[in-house]
Symmetry: D2
Subunit: 359 residues, 4 copies
Amino acid sequence: MSSRFGTIFSISTWGESHGGGVGVVVDGCPPLVPISLEEIQFELDRRKPGQSKITTQRKESDTVEILSGVQDGLSLGTPIAMLVRNEDQRSRDYDEIQHKYRPSHADFAYDKKYGIRAWSGGGRSSARETIGRVAAGAIAKRVLSNFGVEIVGYVEKVHHLHATVDPLTVTLADVEANIVRCPDQAVAAEMLTHIEEIRKQGNSVGGVVGCVARGVPAGWGEPVFDKLEADLGKAILSLPACKGFEIGGGFGMTDFTGSEINDEFEADADKHVFTRTNHSGGIQGGISNGMPIVLHAAFKPTATIMTEQHTVDDQHENTTLKGRGRHDPCVLPRAVPMVEAMVALVLVDHALRQRALRG
Amino acid sequence: MSSRFGTIFSISTWGESHGGGVGVVVDGCPPLVPISLEEIQFELDRRKPGQSKITTQRKESDTVEILSGVQDGLSLGTPIAMLVRNEDQRSRDYDEIQHKYRPSHADFAYDKKYGIRAWSGGGRSSARETIGRVAAGAIAKRVLSNFGVEIVGYVEKVHHLHATVDPLTVTLADVEANIVRCPDQAVAAEMLTHIEEIRKQGNSVGGVVGCVARGVPAGWGEPVFDKLEADLGKAILSLPACKGFEIGGGFGMTDFTGSEINDEFEADADKHVFTRTNHSGGIQGGISNGMPIVLHAAFKPTATIMTEQHTVDDQHENTTLKGRGRHDPCVLPRAVPMVEAMVALVLVDHALRQRALRG
Amino acid sequence: MSSRFGTIFSISTWGESHGGGVGVVVDGCPPLVPISLEEIQFELDRRKPGQSKITTQRKESDTVEILSGVQDGLSLGTPIAMLVRNEDQRSRDYDEIQHKYRPSHADFAYDKKYGIRAWSGGGRSSARETIGRVAAGAIAKRVLSNFGVEIVGYVEKVHHLHATVDPLTVTLADVEANIVRCPDQAVAAEMLTHIEEIRKQGNSVGGVVGCVARGVPAGWGEPVFDKLEADLGKAILSLPACKGFEIGGGFGMTDFTGSEINDEFEADADKHVFTRTNHSGGIQGGISNGMPIVLHAAFKPTATIMTEQHTVDDQHENTTLKGRGRHDPCVLPRAVPMVEAMVALVLVDHALRQRALRG
Amino acid sequence: MSSRFGTIFSISTWGESHGGGVGVVVDGCPPLVPISLEEIQFELDRRKPGQSKITTQRKESDTVEILSGVQDGLSLGTPIAMLVRNEDQRSRDYDEIQHKYRPSHADFAYDKKYGIRAWSGGGRSSARETIGRVAAGAIAKRVLSNFGVEIVGYVEKVHHLHATVDPLTVTLADVEANIVRCPDQAVAAEMLTHIEEIRKQGNSVGGVVGCVARGVPAGWGEPVFDKLEADLGKAILSLPACKGFEIGGGFGMTDFTGSEINDEFEADADKHVFTRTNHSGGIQGGISNGMPIVLHAAFKPTATIMTEQHTVDDQHENTTLKGRGRHDPCVLPRAVPMVEAMVALVLVDHALRQRALRG
């Protein structure tokens, strides 16, 4: 059960970085949903390596094939299986790490867990695993659009560079206007320059991805363990390199008092209720309150760097290792579609859960 | 399925703040585990209201009764049901909120979700729900102790006051040495004074709880969706008022480069492998690496304050509301046992999952 | 997870025969459902011991207390916890079986599984466990009545005595007209006499319970593993002493050819589709087809008999054992409400699953 | 969640009869298990169409590709994805049923459930779906062999022809000695003749498959809802055309009294405990008792027959339909590997669940 996510709209991903391919089975998608190969491929292209000069230069077309669950462009209500073949596998880049553990990578932990490890390409710990998530997320987005929900993710911080983004108005076009995926175009340019510099150094940086879901009606989410922020947090923290999660004001809310930070309700002339501020990030008591859902995710610097580091081998002997192969100096641009996909998967599941409850 | 948590070692909590009581069913606890009513009650006493001058003065003995699953002090392997009766219910404190929505509370969202709301005492959104978690967590801790795992939670920030805590050495005794549950005794005294001041103002503050799990062997956790940090994140974010979660270095890791922040491996003379730093917080690729697991949780200021705020009623008319009743000016001291319980519940489940996988 | 059932509308039962009590948590019941203590108690009274001269004479009032999830007679949408205290516990009746394994009972298997066993009263293997199912089933029936579904169970065979029952017309009143719960009143009288005779002999008999669900719309059930007949089969086979399950024509269908046994479709003047025969038992391809769902469950003779049998003790020494205590000579009359409850729990879950899928 | 099975060792199947293919993802297989493509293909060949003159003549090689989760012939502990491409698709055979509902088929129920139907080849209701089960079952059998468990399925009844089979001694070789898969060679010859005759008539017959699992240790299975017989029952009843399930003596046990049918325990000289009879079928109280697990499954006659039958179309107009295409006159020979696979999937999951509980 290690590779499943969701309760009603649920997915199973599979696949190692080097091997037959990677994929996903989407189970629980309602019938009669328009399924567009182009929409799915669009999201995969936002995720794929080699898409720009600041991502890894590994070349993968990441062309998706839909194997089941769709007839004449409509979902059948049965499992939708999708497959992406692996193409660019340079196992020789990985020879050294067959026996040496890369610092801050999963190699050591995998060996202790399983007693065996797909060392070539990082196996299951590779970011290629997220292909299945992004493909499934594209379908989730399509279902959510019928509920009036729109999701936009964006880079808001790279290393020490902070962007200014208004979650109420940010658009996909703003995000896609530059290869950093930061909608603050001026700061995006600085980020781009910085990432290129970091790459030249053989080093890496991290940052923060923000994401907003607009149009979520009040009433989604469960009150106890499956609080919307809890499920969102799990979804986001399950992404590679993610180390922190905030809903709404997050850690910053601890700097204020209740009287400063509470979100007061107000009704407009049409008796539509909203909150004057949205420090809660659209969720109260685990349940959406109709305001935009806003979250933030911290991604650490890419673990693989091109400088020599201390480590141990699988005989527990001390040694050193210098990164090889093709890697992202900063995962943030490619993390944006991953974050959106995970948000979509959580929301669509809760949409269906609420429909089960109330009809 | 809204009130269930865990896969193998799993719990179901139930109960409203005002009503017959609250409780939990623990399903999946291994047999032959010593179950001590005193240990469970000890944890509940750390959580209960009225325990000190800086917690709510609502008086509840929170005396737990074990209804099943235990024979002569040993678990039977069958469900362990535990019940705590509600005692101190002043519904009159809640008359006004029967129709008015408390700002930053769950009232509005519950009404939209369910079309009905247990307004008295906050119903299911009350922190009383966490009684079941803490009782179950006490049992989880006992099982984990057989695996050599020890969990210690502590307050590390209240409003603008930061404590210095070493997760490698902090003890339960350090934490319980003051009613704030901050092991930095000097800062704890300042926090205490500050919370009392805030209470006199009818205001509230939040803060950050840290937690460490020491002794977790390498190999627990799943590589994809059920990454250890993802499950911990969900667990912690499901606690009332929690708005942020970090594993290891968290958001702060984004201020550094890979070469600064990677955790290099080293083997000692006994070929025991450790990392020279622990920015990863004991987890890599979703799987424990044998280092202490360290996490941080942000809790917002208590929503209920004693000053008048704008809000709406259930007819969507604008109105105002002033907090009444007895509330915590700062939830942090009582949040510590809750955080520990959730960490224990996640870890025990992954311990059993790993045992299923490898024996 | 050993004591959970259902996906959306789900239950967790707990409790040993001798101990604090038994109970259930119902999680996933929609809000605003009328919850009647009388309806629940009515079903429990149909299940309870001592209700007639042909059931065990153990005296239990089986009075249920609703602890949560209900306000002013309406479900809140939150977990509904119910508790029944144990009353009549004669542990001395069980002294001998503390160390001897009763033939065809669960004692031996429990000891091998858990290494510990609640020997007094049979612990968790006692039919008292079904109290939680029946109480939850009463709520499930109430939800289903809003979907137009009615469930009637009945005894159709006791030992060699076969009743004639028409599942299209049988009513609860027919069933409750005699203490055997067989709606064929003439055969019921014979069954009653036979069961009394068997009891005098210190022996036991089994039989077959039939059950019909009328009013289930076409479209419930899932096409693969969670076929409606598969979930019904699991539900029924999880009842104590149940050894066989049939949907529709069951094993008898193997005596015919396809041309004899296929259910041909026909539309009436209102274009309502039905099948001319119902050998399929209302389910095709795992999904309801709008015809009455008809099933049959085989219950073996009660394992406890008052004659001496060979067995072994927990030291694996050969010995003998003669049944003591108060036991049902035939479980069939009390099995009827259990079967109905399990059918209701399966159907209500699939009703909500279908609502999640299609709205 | 419609296409998932199992809790720890779990599978997700996908795929329609006509389309990109069918497949399965096995999640939860322990690492370091030898995975043999030949073993998997062997089982698929036992299931595939066109294997003999008494099965459908549809030609499919059913060649399986392992896409992930295996390295150098050993399982990695990560999801094992397997793919079988569809080959022989004669959609023209299905033109008529695009709008007409085949009697006793799933067509009508699918249309009511989903509002859309993959009419060509029966879509998801086709027996091709079981390819994923059988492939996964082959892996489950391999894991179980490490626990000492051996599973043998066999045909024991076709229409009115009954075989005599001893579950204690029956072998795979006995079963594979004829194309009916009935180990009673004399009766098998009669069955073969009868099935050929039935096929010439354009008719169909059903029958009963028996299955034994030898070597299951005492202690597997859960005591309440996930009783071993309940999970086995669900597994078997989820197979296409299965209408009945019995564990051990099943319905036949109702013809006897407790004193006649109880299984008395006995210990041999080595203090090994067994039961003198095995009417319980190796399971007591839902838990294995160390005796062979024996079950029986009823399969109805194939719904597709070559004679004209009454039915309705999707406008709910009365019409008639005569079967076309290539179909099995009797599914029993091909059902044997399916039954074995489902038994293996249940047992391996409970093996791992028990290991989680006790280590």
